[in-house]
């Protein structure tokens, strides 16, 4: 491998966490269009029952922010290299480092964890129970909407961080300081970005949007469980609620057993102590003529 190849590999490594984000967004939107359009199984259902308006608004807001962030990212990357020394490998690396997609895929671990958990059981084949399905679908739509809103908060933070970073660079340039290494650039970016993210995490918008993601994820999970319970009852399988009841009973029985064992142990210990004490009294009794 040549040094340029290594630089490319490094750029790829950096971008690994964020590279699928845009594709996922596109797939998601394409899927939404397909699902709500005519000629599809979902299209046969009254589309006005779906809560897609909020989702569309959230997506539009994110798209606007996204354009601003990408523009800023490209400007920073472009300005980091002098015009006469354009190096495609370095440019590629810098573009990855300042790619806002990395934030959305790398810092919203909570969002991803919630979605992974919520999307556990796949219930795509349950088309017969429209009402329950609509609840489930709306819960799913709500989670996507809340996720987009949360991503918008993160993207706003990225734009703020990028602005601060650009300001710092300008000041360095004004002072004729040379950034000798891409690591210097990365260090400056990491420090700036970290501070901005930490500030954002304590802000009301961030905490509120994260809470909404959590609530939407929980609602989706509960809607899925309701569907699962419906079919479990039809086919005679125990429902989650019934299993929870059984576990509750077992836990309470174990609790009682532990208390009983403890009381029993206490009684035995008490008897042993009593026995030792009376043995000691006997040994010290002068009438019996023994002493230890």
């Amino acid at each position: 491998m040549t040094p340029l190849d290594y630089m490319k590999a490094m750029a790829e490594l950096w971008g690994r966490g964020g590279k699928d984000f845009a594709a996922a967004q596109q797939n998601f939107l394409a899927g939404m269009m397909k699902a709500t359009g005519s000629g599809t199984p979902l299209g046969a259902l009254p589309t006005d029952m779906f809560d897609t308006q909020g989702l569309a608004q959230a997506n539009e807001a994110l798209s606007k922010l996204w354009s601003s962030a990408l523009e800023m990212s490209q400007t920073i990357t472009r300005k980091m290299q002098s015009a006469e020394q354009q190096d495609p490998a370095v440019a590629e690396l810098l573009s990855k480092i300042f790619d806002p997609r990395a934030w959305l895929s790398g810092t919203d671990g909570m969002d991803q964890a919630l979605q992974r958990m919520a999307e556990g059981p796949r219930l795509a084949d349950l088309w017969d129970t429209e009402r329950k399905m609509l609840t489930l679908f709306n819960a799913w739509t709500a989670l996507r909407r809340r996720s987009l809103e949360h991503n918008a908060v993160i993207l706003e933070a990225w734009i703020r961080a990028a602005g601060r970073f650009a300001k710092d660079l300008n000041e360095k340039a004004d002072r004729k300081e040379v950034l000798g290494s891409w690591r210097d650039v990365v260090t400056l970016w990491v420090e700036t970005a970290n501070t901005t993210l930490l500030e954002t995490q304590r802000s009301e918008p961030y905490l509120n949007s994260q809470r909404e993601v959590l609530k939407a994820s929980t609602d989706l999970r509960l809607a899925q469980q309701e569907m699962a319970a419906f079919y479990s009852e039809i086919f005679g399988y125990p429902t989650r609620e019934e299993m929870d009841d059984v576990h509750r009973t077992v836990t309470e029985l174990r609790r009682e057993l532990r208390a009983f064992q403890r009381a029993n142990r206490g009684t035995k210990t008490g008897l042993r102590q009593q026995s030792r004490a009376s043995q000691s009294r006997i040994q010290h009794d002068p009438d019996r003529g023994t002493s230890s």
């Binding site: 690994r16 966490g17 909570m110 964890a113 950034l179 994260q210 959590l214 532990r258």
Partner: protein
């Protein structure tokens, strides 16, 4: 924006060095086996178990110098293996080498079936039974307790409820005042406190209703948020920093192994942890109850050693230090250590200070 300069020749040179690093790392990685990244390897024997909980007795590594056994109590978030991460970064080994007779309680892997277990079960049930088992094995009335993080809260509650069975209590990185993060209000510190307070109690109830427990991966995501850029850089820049150094690379992998091993927190116990303690701060307020009994910190009359990390972003120092004003003993000592939450156990300087600090303190009270 004014143009800034990055010299291409410098970048190319760095890239070449990076390439060599990656190549060396790839070679090292190809030779790795499971045993190379094994954690919690200090020999021990199971001496008691009940349900999913087990009590282990470590085999001695030196002549016993502290007469009364010490029981390590970790929490339900994460696993006790942090105290024995690797041979040269192990609180367990440090204590054993200094002559401590050591036990540890392992809470096992709670599943949805354990949803209904409460903190009462863990503190007044399993932990109480572990203490009883040690007392019986050694024919003694009291044991020494060493609580870590959430396990420190268990230890504190147990000591307040059953002081007659506790010779001394040592806490490490333990929250007592769950609103103590507001004392310093340091950026990046105490995010779990802030985040938990941003939720409504019913959010937590519904979360537990939906999942039956507090999923390990969920708490993992919350922890990752606390160090956002670190999380983003961990598997690229951070990994590249260590990838060609055998020792550092293995340390990195062992730590990752511990982080990945994050059990689910039983649901009802999680509700108490998040609502009663993080939100309502009942422990320091004196209103927290276990099996209907108030946990009165004033009942803690045995000697107390309270160890905290000066740069702990998860348990800010003030949340731990609040204990001092509440205990019913004058024999209360604090041991502030450099570093962060996990650094106390694995940081080069702190972990040595922690082991010797504990043993010296115990020896003075033997």
């Amino acid at each position: 924006m004014t143009a800034n300069q990055i010299r291409s020749e410098q970048a190319i040179s760095e890239a070449a060095a990076l390439g060599e690093k990656i190549a060396r790392g790839a070679t090292l990685f190809s030779k790795l086996r499971d045993n190379d990244v094994a954690i919690a390897t200090t020999p021990k024997d199971e001496v008691w178990h009940q349900d999913k909980v087990s009590l282990h007795h470590y085999r001695p590594l030196a002549e016993q110098k502290i007469a009364t056994p010490v029981l390590i109590v970790y929490g339900l978030i994460g696993r006790y293996t942090m105290a024995d991460l690797q041979e040269d970064r192990s609180l367990v080994r440090n204590l054993l080498k200094l002559g401590v007779d050591l036990y540890v309680v392992d809470w096992g892997n709670p599943s949805r079936a354990d949803r209904w277990l409460t903190l009462d079960d863990y503190i007044d049930g399993y932990l109480a039974d572990c203490v009883a088992a040690i007392r019986e094995r050694h024919g003694i009335d009291k044991v020494n307790l060493l609580g870590i993080c959430e396990g420190g809260v268990f230890t504190t509650c147990y000591a307040a409820l059953h002081p007659e069975t506790v010779k001394s209590m040592m806490l490490t990185i333990t929250p007592i005042d769950f609103h103590g993060d507001t004392v310093e209000n340091r950026l990046g510190h105490g995010f779990i406190n802030v985040w938990t307070r941003s939720l409504a109690p019913e959010d937590i109830d519904r979360l537990i209703d939906a999942y039956g427990n507090l999923p390990g991966e969920f708490m993992g995501a919350v922890f990752s948020q606390m160090t956002p850029m670190r999380t983003l850089l961990k598997y690229n820049l951070d990994l590249l920093e260590v990838v060609d150094d055998d020792k550092k690379f293995l340390n990195f992998l062992r730590m990752e192994k511990w982080i990945a091993d994050r059990p689910h927190h039983p649901g009802e116990a999680a509700k108490q942890w998040l609502k009663d303690l993080y939100q309502d701060n009942k422990l320091i307020e004196g209103t927290f109850t276990i099996n209907g009994r108030k946990v009165d910190l004033g009942n803690i009359t045995m000697p107390v050693l309270n160890v905290f990390a000066k740069d702990d972003h998860i348990i800010p120092p003030a949340t731990s230090q609040a204990l001092g004003a509440k205990v019913g003993t004058k024999d209360y000592k604090e041991l502030p250590l450099p570093g962060g939450h996990v650094g106390v156990f694995v940081g080069g300087k702190s972990q040595a200070l922690l082991g010797s600090g504990i043993v010296n303190w115990l020896a003075e009270r033997s």
